[in-house]
Point group: C2
Chain length 365, copies 2
């Protein structure tokens, strides 16, 4: 039934990243004759497309056919049954940020289904889930790759893995891990010029689509804390969860519980003086303030929050909504290995997923 | 005879990089139970160590046993016979910069022997050799990885491959590709302060071990041209050779043919005024001069030489002997994907070789 060298692809999620991934997958499937890629399942939260005989769905019209499908998504244990019974190896691509899907990774991996995903939840949830995922992968031989869970398509996770796997000693990781925070501070406290008011910059970022629908979901620092959790674990620290180390929230206490993001934005100007003081204090030292995450591997300290940087520091010189990640290691000495560039956006996030898929294909086929 | 999941390692070269690689390999072999790594051949230009029944040599004492060995290296066709007849898959690690070994890659690959190497020669020689290498690899399934041929252990080649393989359009690659040139210009034309005389900085770099024994081998720009040739080819340009595009040499014409590096260094001060003029001209525009390579993919222009950069440009802000490589692509837009850090040295070069080996092992075992 299945061609000799065929690999099935199953996709959960067809939002911003999912759509970009699907178009990259089309190009990939055309360019690479082997292994032959066959789409056997695709779903959103409401609809699905699959057939019990695993006949391949067209990559080109998958989204359109999906939108008019009357099939409901399989629940996750049933999906695992369906994929485990496929007549060729399967790679599951999770393009959601769903915690429920993340929690099912050990189930999929344990049944031989490889996973590639930008979903941070699985790798920054409980340490137990992290262990279950990699144990399931080790015992079944199914692969799990998640480059885009930190810095989107930037080669952050692969580089950290290479450092660790070749026996280097990572001493510190530091950087700007949020495109939203990068944009906000590069505009609020630029290295040249004076920058705008904090609340004005937050509004602008929201209008440009750089924030979550409710900007508090960026300003609470949890997104950065999740990424730090992932990197710290890869560097060997058994971090329990993204709330088990200090994370500075930029949401004023009084606005923590206002009803909506809109109300938050209306009231935020009342708190501009606080951020202005922080900015001025840094300026007096000839520095700028930035929202960074850092992992000190030796002292096992992980933290997320505001820090001051010299104007000549690469973190201060960052532009637009770029991320920057510095790896300090024994081999690299005093000058770190630095990776910098766009760390958010559908196309670059999908790129990380697609390159992970290529790596998995080279190993399982 | 051979264990079920065993891979043989053969090593050519036991100099600076070779020694570091061997110590990383020891750690790797201990950490990873599968596949079992077995050293079946190691040689320098004068001596070798191997046995006709492929019994594994100890990683720990390989160098010492080699130094007292009375075996001569096998010539390359005989080595290919020996490795192709091994009872398990083989990875050949070429830690030399030998052109002769490089030219034998198609032979090894064609016979199923995978290759990992920091040797630039194979990938920056004739375009015919480049084609022969990748055709031999494609037809036999043997792998060939060469991360450390550009930027040592920095993830330069893997990142460029990921961009291309996932369908991004690389428009321009620009950077400082030589640790020696980086050190020279960061000291000669720093962004703050006035810097030393050109000839003084060249002497200092030589004393610190940052140059080749004859500094002209760095100053002629050929090392950078070789790296640009590799990147341009990976980006899709069929560059014929490292001498088929403009390369600016920093060796004054009159000193091209002086007898020795020492005589060159003695006479170099006579030409300081020329470099001083270049530096001053840049300063008048508020810029600094740097020795860079660039590839404009659309216009197919590759060039190597002096360029001026604003003080705030990441290339101007480089420190020590670091490399920096910027990838401008359609997906990344106006802000490039940047990789920065030490691009030379035994440990970081060996790291690129070891991480390549890990990738090959994950695919062939």
């Amino acid at each position: 039934m299945a061609a000799v060298n065929q690999v099935f692809i199953a996709i959960i999620g067809a939002g911003g990243v999912g759509k970009c991934f699907l178009s990259q997958l089309q190009v990939l499937a055309k360019r690479r004759p082997s292994p032959k890629l066959a789409l056997c399942y695709i779903c959103t939260s409401k609809k699905a497309l699959y057939s019990s005989d695993y006949s391949a769905l067209g990559f080109e019209d998958a989204l359109q056919t999906l939108s008019s499908s009357s099939q409901a998504p399989l629940d996750l244990p049933k999906l695992a049954d369906y994929l485990a019974a496929a007549p060729s190896k399967v790679v599951l691509v999770d393009n959601t940020s769903s915690e429920e899907v993340a929690e099912a990774y050990p189930l999929f991996l344990g049944r031989g289904v490889s996973i590639v995903t930008p979903n941070k939840k699985a790798f920054s949830g409980s340490y137990k889930l992290w262990q279950d995922i990699f144990e399931a992968s080790a015992s079944s031989g199914a692969k799990v790759y998640h480059e885009s869970s930190v810095g989107a398509g930037l080669p952050v996770i692969s580089t950290l893995k290479d450092l660790v796997d070749t026996g280097d000693e990572v001493t510190k990781i530091e950087g700007v891990f949020s495109g939203t925070m990068s944009f906000l501070f590069n505009s609020f406290a630029p290295t040249t010029g004076s920058g705008g008011k904090w609340s004005t910059e937050v509004k602008k970022a929201k209008e440009l689509g750089y924030t979550e629908p409710d900007p508090r979901d960026d300003l609470n620092g949890l997104d950065v804390a999740r990424k730090l959790t992932i990197l710290a674990r890869l560097a060997g620290l058994p971090v329990e969860s993204p709330t088990s180390f200090p994370v500075e929230s930029l949401i004023p206490n009084a606005l923590e519980s206002v009803a909506s993001g809109d109300e938050f934005l209306r009231k935020l100007p009342d708190f501009d003086s606080e951020m202005e003081r922080t900015k001025t204090a840094a300026e007096k030292e000839g520095k700028v303030v930035r929202f960074v995450g850092s992992i000190d591997v030796a002292t096992k300290q992980v933290k997320v929050g505001l820090e001051k940087f010299d104007l000549s520091h690469p973190i201060a010189a960052l532009k637009g909504s770029d991320n920057i990640i510095s790896f300090y290691t024994k081999r690299y000495g005093s000058n770190p290995l630095i990776i910098q560039g766009a760390g958010a956006g559908g196309e670059v996030t999908a790129m990380g997923v697609t390159s992970d898929l290529i790596k998995v294909l080279s190993q399982i086929s």
